[in-house]
Symmetry: D3
Subunit: 163 residues, 6 copies
Amino acid sequence: MKNTAVYPGSFDPPTNGHLDVIARASRLFPRLIVAVTDNQNKTPTHTLEERLLMLRGITKNIPGVSVEIFSGLLVNYLKKKNARVIIRGLRAVSDFEYEFQLALMNRKLSPSIETVFLMPDEKYVYLSSSMVNEVARLGGSVDCFVPPLVRAQVIKKCRHSNP
Amino acid sequence: MKNTAVYPGSFDPPTNGHLDVIARASRLFPRLIVAVTDNQNKTPTHTLEERLLMLRGITKNIPGVSVEIFSGLLVNYLKKKNARVIIRGLRAVSDFEYEFQLALMNRKLSPSIETVFLMPDEKYVYLSSSMVNEVARLGGSVDCFVPPLVRAQVIKKCRHSNP
Amino acid sequence: MKNTAVYPGSFDPPTNGHLDVIARASRLFPRLIVAVTDNQNKTPTHTLEERLLMLRGITKNIPGVSVEIFSGLLVNYLKKKNARVIIRGLRAVSDFEYEFQLALMNRKLSPSIETVFLMPDEKYVYLSSSMVNEVARLGGSVDCFVPPLVRAQVIKKCRHSNP
Amino acid sequence: MKNTAVYPGSFDPPTNGHLDVIARASRLFPRLIVAVTDNQNKTPTHTLEERLLMLRGITKNIPGVSVEIFSGLLVNYLKKKNARVIIRGLRAVSDFEYEFQLALMNRKLSPSIETVFLMPDEKYVYLSSSMVNEVARLGGSVDCFVPPLVRAQVIKKCRHSNP
Amino acid sequence: MKNTAVYPGSFDPPTNGHLDVIARASRLFPRLIVAVTDNQNKTPTHTLEERLLMLRGITKNIPGVSVEIFSGLLVNYLKKKNARVIIRGLRAVSDFEYEFQLALMNRKLSPSIETVFLMPDEKYVYLSSSMVNEVARLGGSVDCFVPPLVRAQVIKKCRHSNP
Amino acid sequence: MKNTAVYPGSFDPPTNGHLDVIARASRLFPRLIVAVTDNQNKTPTHTLEERLLMLRGITKNIPGVSVEIFSGLLVNYLKKKNARVIIRGLRAVSDFEYEFQLALMNRKLSPSIETVFLMPDEKYVYLSSSMVNEVARLGGSVDCFVPPLVRAQVIKKCRHSNP
């Protein structure tokens, strides 16, 4: 069971920071499931299907990584997958608080599941998906922030409003 | 006047963390008014009436505690109630900043009113109302997070969308 | 180029804290452009036009300050204005994180542009535009928080719902 | 028992920020003991006796306040004094973490004792005893930071090295 | 190589918080080396030998855990041990900053080594070794904070000054 | 007067992060004085003279930069130099709090002096002088952290204890 870890997130879109965490996690755990949340509360910029395709595209050469959609309670999803480890990337202080809250909530819901925090490269420390969408929407270059495959999708999706 | 304190909040729903702060405050002040805000900006998960009933139910055995609805400016409400102390629970860093901002704003609006910060039990340090609603909505157990009476209401309210 | 700095923001409405930062920046840079963002994602309380008028009113006696509306990418706006310095006020921890994220994003988009952080007077450390609107909406006095000209506009705009 | 609160600290020296917290606490609790710690681990700038005299001098007109020296465990001192409330001032984030740690430690050692956090005036939010000593040592004016009586003592003590 | 993790620290003394992290890490990695630092800069309360004995005593029933002393650069120690993972516990914000600094330093010194952060039970979130020593020195009970074996050593070592 | 800025610090030793801030500040202000503090309270690793030489060496090609030693109160030093701007680099949260405290203290001591905060490249966000000395002392490479000239001095000074 220790062999499978789940990296959950909305990945709207996946950034170089997410990719960095995926690469690090995949070196620690033989099987890593990147789990895209179908969060019905928020309106995402990119559809579930688009996020799935982007993540599959950018992780296809990283051994042991698969990408799936999940809905419902994260800890239930882990049990179904026979996984016991949740991966989270830690960036800055606000992250930290929220991540702790989430991790403690999950631990209460399922004490045998452990959350493992990894630190992305410091050059991604302040990168966020929403800023990537915003920069693209305003016509800026997102080349430094996302892989080329994601860049194409982000531009297609975000730029039409500011042509 | 020092005998009456007001503990304002949205309590959407009240959690074990809120209840812990209420119990602590009631040991410090002979009269404690738990004041449920009628915030017209946000769409709450539970109606004002439901929150009032939950709070009255879970505090009915704590001496000196009453529960009321208030709207308008908090400092004006305190004056009307002849109260001079605002109670706030402090959990984590993000809380802390926001609570300071609020307390300083209230102090500017009414310098004679003092905000008193209490620390809930550390086991509630990362508990939030919105996470409780979210866990219930996703079908998870909220038994560790809220009193039984609140649990029943939260399940009734949140779970219907994921049956 | 070092002579022109841009202080961007939504200024919805401008507060004494913003005015304090404007005064400090104007003593450092011969030309200061206060740039009001036309953010299409958020619904502002005050229209772009109203914010422009308020800012022009309260800064008319500060030498070297002009007020403009901008849309699009901030770094592109700076280039167009031949400016190389972004001014940002730093208040509290949550600010700090967000401001760093923004500044690093802008640096990536245009490495020659520098973000300069100034500290407002500590008496404005916890002041925010949204709280000003909220206090006015609830019928409280905003005299301590905004210049008289802004106060008039805020009351006109926010108070009608709670007469 | 709820009538007596203890405000512990090293007060090396007492600042306007401490005095502000003392005044606020004395309005909440009929009896307030300012308890100067005889911390044998640190080398203070001002002797216990000097700190006691300064605190007595600056609080002599605040009703209900007494100043005492204490050593040993804080919670034991409170029990001896029949007090159940510890007062702490909260300034900034680093404070906040340390204060939480201390308060939780004291709660574990004696669950019936409550720590109450008060917020000093924002103009003292970044004031510290060690900075006061340092400024005086370097020949700067400490008039804004401490009451006149403390100022005299700080100058006598700290300035001799830079005459 | 992924099978061995190193949990470095001064453990002066080991607390229930450390023990909690050790237990969690040992469930993730087949081999865990608890590495006690021989830091020549600080004067520890407990000798290296005492800390080694305490750690061995309290971990003797946790499978896969060994305790060793190390000096020199942590990343060199890991290479010698054929380990590629550093374990660190994350408690509060101040921790977080320092831990990030350390982790990034180690990553620069050896990019193939990954730091994995685990979150201790929230009831240990504010526990520190130095507070344990201080409480014992002042005659307080440390039963809630350390295992019995550590308690005996801490009392022997710290209490003689306050008999 | 706005043309001269002072960047004070202990620079024990100067790191790539300091150098990055110096370069940024020198692009904003025609004259920049790097002011090495002669802090009599701390025992530095490198002597004042050594730090002066290192700083002069690494800044000799940056136009407008001079390096000096200063003692006494920083604001008095600025007045003597006819400078009105203090430069500070901001790295992480703990920094931020301390820097604010310092800046507010200096503002109280001399209201006409402004502190300007710059953000070093994110790759230096977690770099500190003390860690550089520590890594060198333990025999690690400091090539990523300091310029070559500083590296030579740090190795000479720190490594002799671990040959």
